[in-house]
Amino acid sequence: MSAILELRDVGVRFGTFDAVDGVSLTVNAGEVVGLIGPNGAGKTVTFNVITGLQPATRGRVLLGGTDVTRQPAHVRTAMGLSRTFQVVQLFAGMSVLQNLMVAAHRHTHAGVLVDALRLPGRGRALRQAEERARAVLAFLELSHLADLEVTSLPVGQARLVELARALCLTPTCLLLDEPASGLDPGETADFVALLAHVRSTLGCAMLLVEHDMGVVMPLCDHVIVMDFGKVLASGPPLEVRDDPAVRAAYLGEEVH
């Protein structure tokens, strides 16, 4: 199996506080890896380091074997990385379709001049992006939302739209930051089924941050537990769940 994503001894320090402290992990092609841990463990910061939104203080980030530690976010996106955000970050003031088209434009080419002067490439770019966006909406059975303004969506639908937007990038590695938070149990079950469907159809690797074990257990091939910026445990889901250290971390979490 080949590693799609690899972190080697990554650290992020804010002032004197190590938010991420020597994390190493590997995600192989087509694999679903869960990243769990109590609040403040450093999961989101790790995501930001992987996607290039937060520079690492130390360590390396590799995508498909290439060192991208110094590459900006948009370059990593072009290399097949895609993500959703813990706090939904849809583009306000735009419709669902327009939101997806921003992502779908990764596959199009049209510069300022072409767009301003209606040179030939402009229409093609718009058409391709719209086709791609509509196809993804149809795949996730969200076509009826296409023309709604995103700020009017309830959180459950907003999370689905964010997933759809991430898929428009045709990722080889998809990073999902608590995609099921804010969903009710029924929605969560649907969401798990949907992710399983995405996985079996598209075959992209996933790194999944989630607190809800009902989401992590059925989906993940492999689970990594973080606490205080460090990797606490790592292994198959059931094994990790029964690890005493993990239990202690979570019980400690629940006490306060």
Partner: protein, 633 residues
């Protein structure tokens, strides 16, 4: 070495004045988080007022005292108009409106030519004091220094020990909590603005003699030095602000000396202050201090509802129909000239529609981009480039300058960018427009436009009609270009960027490149406007692109509503109509009438922002949008 020490020391008195004016800004900012861009203009009003009182026989100290009271009154009035504005940036743009109002009123009453009135001098003569053979300061300057130092110390103590000082801090840090504790937030704000206005006004009265007399622009440009000092004080510390002002005063003569070797260089003082502004803004970021609040001016851009779009398009078409006969009929030069003006100022407004409405950045230096376009055209033509190619070169130069301005904008909040661009406008007036490589030595580059007489043979000797067609054609193409840009890939990226930078980056767009392209495109359009203007008046000169122009352009864009491309036509009409009615701003002989335009622009800007930050088209679109909402509910 000794030379430099005495050079530096010679800047001390004026440095103290920068400090004083800056403290007026800081006092206001500490409580309300609003940046008072009108600080210099308050000083201007107070200096003229004191001088008038004095010439009517008021004793010096009484005249000064009454003028300072005027400053306080202006401050209080400003607070009342800033209060309804939502967000620090909108409030700050209201103070730009006040800058226009004050500058307009003073120009209207006193004329814009260098005034015959003498500034009030607190102590009589300007004789130098002999300190063991060293003649450094006049007795007048010594008094200024002492007064400024005592006042600064007094204010600093006042803010640390008094109840008001504590209340001020509470209000600025947590207005809601302060309200719960029974602190009258509005009252504290009023007091702070009144005090700030008084201090800025006092600084104006004191500094007028040092600036060599009463002058309607010098006293306003003075704001850039005050801004610099206030930023050194990180907008919070009065002692640091004082130190900042004094240091700037000490620095300026040295910089002037160092740059002396370049022939014909002017405005080194403003240049120094601008550098200080830029460095402190970027440094505040670096050290993680986020004292300057954000608060974006336009609400997240809503797509215009079809109704409004149709109305705006109809208005645009109607205007075009109205204009067309002017071009077909032989109605004479003046009308053709005015059609060109509508197109040119429409282009200028359009460049702001793109920058503020689409890119979501605020620029108070759009006229500087125009100036670059104009001078660039002049320079290119000086090298034998034909006119039509030269205007493109001018526009490209403007685009490059705009991209340069966009670089710090990558790191700055919108309010900070407003500070930086306003400072740039002030600096351009004094420095750029007389900088030999760009402007020629007399600040005017000829821009002949050969070819237009041939296109339009026998009609008018200088081809005004053909030129009007050219300008109008470029304007229409530019409008379509912006509209089509906005609906395509680039527009999608720009709109996304305004909503969430991390998400846009995660979607594969380079934040740096998208933003800089937005700036460059806006600069290109503004540069085209400047180039066409230079062609129209057959010469490039900075006077048409001064800071007042930058501010009024932003004002028109805000008044009309920054989100609307057809609104740009309206912008062009307004500028041209006011020019027709009151004369051009560059026309000094017309000073009083021009000042009326400036004043009314300021008043309308203040009024509109009190009503809605979305401008006229915003008001219309909200009313149109209401109906579907009712149906849905």
């Amino acid at each position: 070495m000794k030379l430099y020490v005495s050079l530096a020391l010679s800047g001390l008195p004026i440095g103290a004045m920068y400090a004083l004016s800056a403290m007026g800004i800081v006092i206001v900012f500490k409580t309300s988080k609003v940046f008072n861009f009108a600080a210099g203009a308050i000083g201007l009003a107070c200096a003229y007022f004191a001088s008038t009182l004095h010439s009517h026989g008021f004793p010096t100290l009484l005249a000064v005292a009454v003028a300072v009271l005027l400053g306080a009154a202006i401050g209080v009035l400003m607070e009342l108009t800033v209060r309804p504005a939502k967000g620090a940036l909108t409030g700050t743009i209201v103070t730009l409106g006040w800058l226009l109002v004050l500058q307009g009123v003073v120009g209207w009453v006193y004329g814009t030519q260098v005034a015959t009135n003498e500034p009030v001098q607190i102590v009589g003569d300007g004789n130098f004091i002999d300190w063991g053979g060293v003649l450094l300061y006049s007795n007048q300057q010594v008094v200024l220094l002492v007064v400024a130092a005592v006042l600064a110390a007094g204010l600093a103590v006042f803010f640390t020990v008094t109840a008001l000082g504590t209340a001020t801090r509470a209000v600025s840090e947590a207005p809601d909590a302060a309200r719960l504790l029974g602190i009258g937030v509005n009252r504290v704000n009023l007091v702070a603005w009144g005090l700030g206005g008084a201090v800025s006004g006092f600084a104006g009265v004191l500094v007028a003699p040092l600036l060599g007399g009463l002058d309607t622009t010098k006293l306003v440009v003075f704001t850039v030095q005050a801004l610099a000092a206030a930023l050194v004080g990180r907008l919070s510390s009065l002692p640091l602000t004082f130190a900042g002002g004094v240091t700037l005063g000490l620095l300026q003569p040295i910089v002037a000396r160092a740059l002396q070797q370049f022939d014909g260089i002017k405005g080194t003082q403003e240049l120094t202050a601008f550098a200080v502004v830029l460095v402190s803004l970027l440094f505040m970021k670096r050290s993680g201090r986020r004292d300057v609040g954000g608060g974006l001016l336009p609400a997240p851009l809503q797509p215009l509802p079809r109704g409004v779009f149709a109305v705006a398009t109809a208005v645009g078409v109607a205007l075009a129909v109205l204009l067309a006969p002017l071009l077909v009929d032989d109605v004479g030069n003046a009308s053709h000239y005015n059609v060109s003006q509508v197109a040119i100022w429409g282009l200028a407004t359009l460049s702001l529609v793109l920058l503020v409405g689409v890119v979501g950045q605020v620029s108070v230096c759009q006229a500087v981009f125009m100036g670059c376009g104009a001078y660039g055209t002049g320079i290119a033509m000086g090298h034998g480039v034909p006119f039509l190619l030269a205007i493109v070169i001018g526009a490209v130069l403007a685009a490059a300058v705009a991209a340069l301005v966009g670089l710090p904008a990558l790191r700055l909040e919108p309010l900070e960018l407003a500070i930086a661009t306003l400072s740039l406008s002030f600096t351009a007036d004094r420095f750029l427009y007389s900088w030999p490589p760009l402007a020629s030595s007399d600040g005017n580059r000829p821009v002949a436009r050969p070819g237009f007489a041939n296109i339009d043979p026998g009609h008018v000797a200088n081809g005004q009609r053909a030129y009007a067609w050219l300008a109008l054609g470029i304007f229409v193409v530019a409008c379509f270009a912006v509209a089509s840009l906005r609906r395509a890939r680039t527009g999608a990226a720009l709109t996304a960027l305004r909503s969430s930078e991390p998400a846009t980056a995660a979607m594969g767009f380079s934040v740096v490149s998208v933003k800089l392209r937005g700036f460059a495109a806006s600069g290109f359009i503004a540069g085209l406007a400047g180039a066409l203007y230079a062609g129209l008046v057959q010469g490039a000169s900075g006077a048409a692109f001064d800071f007042t122009r930058s501010i009024t352009l932003l004002a028109y864009a805000v008044i009309i509503g920054v989100g609307s491309v057809p609104g740009a036509v309206l912008g062009g009409m307004i500028v041209t109509l006011t020019t027709l009615t009151f004369g051009s701003t560059s026309d000094v002989a017309n000073g009083s009438q021009v000042s009326l335009t400036t004043m009314f622009t300021g008043i309308i800007l203040i009024a509109i922002l009190a009503l809605t930050p979305e401008g006229l088209t915003g008001i219309v679109s909200r009313n149109v949008r209401k109906q579907p909402e009712l149906v849905a509910a």
